[in-house]
């Protein structure tokens, strides 16, 4: 499943959907809002283009790393410190493929998916986050 949503992420459900008899490893990545001195984060997406890009990244990862299943959920809207932003779950026959596939997806997502974050807070004001 590929999803961009304002709802919270249910990692357990994502893991359940990626498990199979052929998969001996399930790797998860959960991105959360870090306290960088702001109070909240606003996440914005070019939804249609981002969904298409995430689909393309998933297809690449599945064929490159022989993944059995991949789920990606990215949140949008206003998020508080500690809240979930992004979850990626990859299953594969072995751990090396699952780790590599998950790493590939997060790095490509950061480079290619049209999503943006704005930090907001009393002390720091507000500013759009630049990619790190």
């Amino acid at each position: 499943m590929i999803e961009i949503t304002e709802e919270d992420i249910c990692l357990e459900e994502m893991i359940k959907r990626t498990k199979s008899k052929e998969a001996g490893a399930v790797v998860t990545f959960l991105g959360t809002v870090r306290d960088d001195g702001m109070e909240r984060l606003e996440v914005e997406a070019f939804r249609e283009a981002a969904l298409a890009e995430l689909q393309a990244i998933r297809s690449e990862a599945m064929s490159r790393f022989c993944l059995k299943a991949v789920e990606i959920v990215h949140r949008t809207g206003t998020l508080a410190v500690g809240e979930n932003i992004l979850a990626i779950v990859c299953s594969a026959a072995h751990r090396d493929e699952a780790f590599s596939g998950c790493r590939y997806i997060i790095e490509e997502l950061k480079k290619r998916a049209p999503l943006w974050k704005k930090e907001l807070g009393e002390k720091k004001g507000e500013h759009w986050v630049r990619r790190t």
């Binding site: 991105g31 070019f46 990215h74 480079k111 049209p114 999503l115 943006w116 986050v129 630049r130 990619r131």
Partner: protein, 92 residues
Amino acid sequence: MRIMVLAFANFREILGKERELQLNEGATVKELLDELAAIRPAFKEAAFDDTGALRDYVLLMVNRKRIDPAQDLSRRLQEGDELAIFPPLAGG
């Protein structure tokens, strides 16, 4: 011809999320950007430097495919095209 302009992040704050522009047939991407700059001086300041060159952090898509501002500003648009304007990506 009608062109749909979508803007995101700081450019959305200046231009609004979407707007339809009427341009002359055969208008280029650069002409569309100039039109936006004429409508919204804040966009001109955000998108163009003092020499009138497009700033590096202005990214563009035509019909959801990235274009290279260094090479494609002279690309001619067609009726119904969608142009998206946004800063560098920062998801994840």
